[in-house]
């Protein structure tokens, strides 16, 4: 009888040990996820002023080169590179606008219309103005975000 009781106790202990391991694994993953989110938010907060100033500089340069030379390809490439970096750091609410601007400035079609590739075609004035307008709107959004972050 004692042997049977101790065997039952052992199997209960073993089961509860397994459950505890599973729970701690889940908690570990949750903590890991939280840590990554905090790290991402911290990096974004630290680099936000840098992104705003880079976008402001590139937007002014884009307009000036459009006016003077009519050639904006260099500025658009630089802008695209900054936006790609920014895309990985922004929250999902701003990511949509960044993605759209990446597509516009990098001359990439929407993922749903992948067959309409138009590489090696110069940007039309309307396309350049759309990128300029989108960049300025993004700068306003990031500036507002910077103000909000001061209070959080």
């Amino acid at each position: 009888m004692d042997l049977e009781n101790s065997s039952k106790l052992m199997s209960w202990l073993s089961l509860s040990g397994n459950v505890a391991s599973l729970v701690s694994l889940i908690i570990s993953f949750a903590v890991l996820r939280q840590t990554r989110a905090i790290r991402k938010a911290f990096i974004f907060r630290g680099r936000l002023p840098e992104f705003i100033s880079a976008l402001t500089r590139l937007s002014a340069s884009l307009l000036m080169n459009y006016e003077v030379k009519g050639d904006t390809s260099g500025d658009l490439k630089k802008l695209n590179a900054v936006l790609r970096n920014l895309e990985r750091k922004v929250e999902s609410s701003e990511r949509k606008a960044v993605k759209q601007l990446i597509r516009q400035s990098g001359r990439m079609p929407h993922p749903m219309v992948f067959w309409r590739r138009r590489d090696n075609v110069t940007f039309t004035p309307e396309e350049v103005w759309a990128v300029y307008s989108g960049t300025e709107a993004l700068i306003v959004t990031l500036r507002e975000l910077k103000k909000d972050l001061k209070w959080s």
Binding site: S59, A60, L63, E67, Y132, S133, A137, I139, V140, R143
Partner: protein, 122 residues
């Protein structure tokens, strides 16, 4: 107060119209209602856009930092809608890179810098 996005849209539209020479800006005398003893207006530009008079200028002045007890210089670009008799209907003075770009484009357009350079280089 109009929404920020509408003002931004207008600023972009004005920039585009100025670059494409669809709107003509001129140096002008600022309306007297803009005069303020604490600030000075170095250059005032005005243009008519879709039947509305629009003014653009840089306001410079000194401000006081109470924490450090020092005066410092401040400059900001201001966009105004001008009504009958020089009345200011609306003033937009928030920091905006689109507005800074518009100011530069307008300054070049009003001074007709291309024409001056062409004449000098003939």
């Amino acid at each position: 107060m109009p929404s920020e996005s509408k003002i931004q849209r207008l600023i972009i539209e004005l920039t585009k119209a100025t670059v494409e020479k669809q709107v003509e800006w001129d140096f002008d005398v600022p309306p007297s209602s803009l005069a303020d003893g604490n600030y000075s207006i170095s250059e005032y530009f005005q243009a008519e856009y879709k039947g509305q008079w629009i003014g653009l200028f840089e306001r410079k002045g000194r401000a006081f930092d109470a924490d450090r007890e020092v005066y410092y210089w401040v400059a900001s670009i201001i966009l105004v809608f001008v009504g009958e008799g020089g009345r200011i209907l609306f003033e937009y003075d928030r920091e905006s890179s689109a507005l800074n770009n518009l100011y530069r484009v307008v300054k070049e357009s009003a001074s007709d810098i291309d024409n001056i350079l062409d004449t000098l280089l003939q």
